[in-house]
Symmetry: C2
Subunit: 357 residues, 2 copies
């Protein structure tokens, strides 16, 4: 199978080799060194300030989204949450569950957030801002400069879910004044799913440390304290953390985060050029390099997912809910090449010949 | 390295082979089938009733312990929690964090729970009981028949953390009237860490469904609902779930849970026989087959851990906190053999020759 989904994605040989090894015992100075290196390189690639910290959570991206909402906001906050798809909805739901006063900025699916849509919230006493920089469900990539400027002007504590965008699109926490950035192991990090990471600015670390929450597993204070010695409060997904280590070092050795972003951008551009004459409409008006969301003009999106899986040995990423029939997504993250793009495009052409798209 | 820790433990060749493969896309009927099989075999090996359900949480054992406390108990309960070590303390802390009225039965480290210690709580209006059947930190294995009879007599909802005991010691949820059993991927399941599992009796499923909790990631209602179609609410650790599948099927093919318990019991007995004349005291008065906790008579337990790691290529399991110098543990779970036991015992004898134990 060739995997063009948005995660889990394909891993490189080096990451898979780690997967074949025995898992080492981890309450050791040796494993602590690996964790320190993971923290250092993640901070570097996120453009985080020197005193920023990284917490690795054994859990999906949602686990880290929930941990962040619980640990940095409270009933005293008033939070703006961009809601343009199922991940924006998730942030909104998390605010509701944890009694965080919030307003959802509803953005039409496939559309980006505009300056005009922010104006009603300017100077209205908000304290925080939640956004999925890449709303992965619809493939919309929001304008971080616009959001960052709005947050700077209003003094908002800015939390960014960059789960599917980290390493695929340019991002600089310090320049954008982002307080918290979240990512996951199974996106452009191209490791198996099971670990998510939270990068906290110095400001965010302080906020976490001054916060009391009703959770043991998601208590970031404990995670930060254990992290000072390169450890975690509970047994982590040790294997995946070792894979993340190999992958972060690989990115560093190949020239750093800019090179990786460029590689993924080239792949995305190659694919988008190759499908220009196919009966698809691009669903998003502003795309991340990570994903191309496609609306087939003459066929069910879910049927295309199924036939590619069953007859061509290719996974693209189906959508759920009300977009299931309308949109499928093609990912450009993970160990993919331009040749893989051609294999997928050839399959599309074959479906076209068969009258199926 | 040979790994005698209590987790992560050594995996078999078949589990490691899965670790070397690409992770498949999981929102598919194919992956759902795997999840149904994982549920069926876990229920079978736990001795769960026909209508029981299993939820797989991407997270450590503590994640599942917290999810269970949140989803089955409330402020209307009055819970007894056995506290004989750091995992008993964890259940007690979880009750405190989530405002569950509770009483901790404090058991001295290394000692088991006796009938006499339960008498003061008989007929006192308790509604639930929390126990780590194997208090892994001290290697104490509690008497489940004693606990089960007490719970039956008092009508208590019985939750058992069997994280390090499942597949290593005999256990029968239905016979013991256990409502919830928790286990983890990195113990006798001998897979990498990152997934824990919760087996819920029909009664427990009903309790979960009637419960509202302030959590998205730990909302077992959602997990149960998604599980009806073999799926999870959030991206799970797909690779580890595939490894669990291979391992559960292996246990089934080799004769089932009783055979696996016997294999681990034989390994433990072999080790315990081989160390009889060494300067160690067994720390626990009632042991699981999973672990032998040892108190070195003439040396620091932590120093033994370090020298075995650095000079002999062997990991034993150190203790934390106030037992760090006093106790280390030797695990019998995972892909170990009697020959491995001999290698460890030879290392002990060498340390003895060197005057180090």
């Amino acid at each position: 199978m060739i995997n063009f989904t948005v995660g889990p994605v394909q891993s490189g040989e080096n990451v898979r080799e780690i997967g074949s090894r025995q898992i080492p015992y981890f309450r050791t100075p040796e494993f602590s060194e690996i964790m320190f290196e993971n923290e250092r390189l993640t901070k570097k690639f996120a453009g985080a300030e020197e005193n920023a910290r990284v917490v690795f959570i054994t859990g999906s991206g949602t686990a880290s989204m929930e941990a962040v909402v619980m640990n940095v906001f409270s009933r005293e906050d008033k939070v703006l949450a961009v809601n343009g798809g199922s991940f924006g909805q998730r942030f909104t739901d998390l605010c509701k569950i944890h009694d965080i006063p919030h307003t959802a900025i509803e953005v039409e699916e496939g559309k980006t957030l505009t300056k005009a849509e922010l104006i009603p919230y300017d100077g209205k006493g908000y304290t925080g801002f939640l956004v999925n920089v890449h709303e992965t469900s619809t493939g919309v990539y929001y304008d971080m400069d616009l959001i960052s400027n709005f947050c700077k002007k209003n003094g908002l504590f800015l939390v960014v879910d960059a789960i599917s965008s980290f390493l695929a699109d340019p991002f600089d926490m310090e320049r954008l004044n982002v307080s918290v950035m979240i990512t996951g192991s199974q996106k452009a990090l191209a490791c198996p799913p099971g670990v998510s990471a939270i990068v906290l600015s110095e400001d965010a670390v302080q906020r976490v440390n001054n916060h009391r929450i009703k959770s043991m597993y998601f208590d970031l204070k404990e995670a930060l304290k254990n992290g000072e010695r390169g450890q975690t409060p509970f047994t982590p997904a040790v294997g995946i953390l070792l894979q993340i280590n190999v992958r972060l070092k690989e990115i560093e050795e190949l020239g750093g985060v800019d090179k990786e972003v460029q590689r993924i951008s080239d792949l995305a551009e190659d694919f988008r050029n190759k499908i220009k004459d196919l009966p698809f409409e691009i669903f998003s008006e502003s795309m991340s390099n990570a994903v191309t969301p496609l609306h087939p003009l003459n066929a069910s999106a879910y049927d295309i997912f199924t036939v590619l899986k069953d007859e061509y040995g290719i996974w693209v990423c189906p959508n759920g809910g009300k977009l299931a029939e309308k949109v499928f997504r093609v990912g450009h993250i993970g160990a993919l090449t331009k040749e893989d793009n051609s294999v997928l495009v050839d399959a599309f052409r074959d479906l076209q010949r068969r009258g199926m798209i």
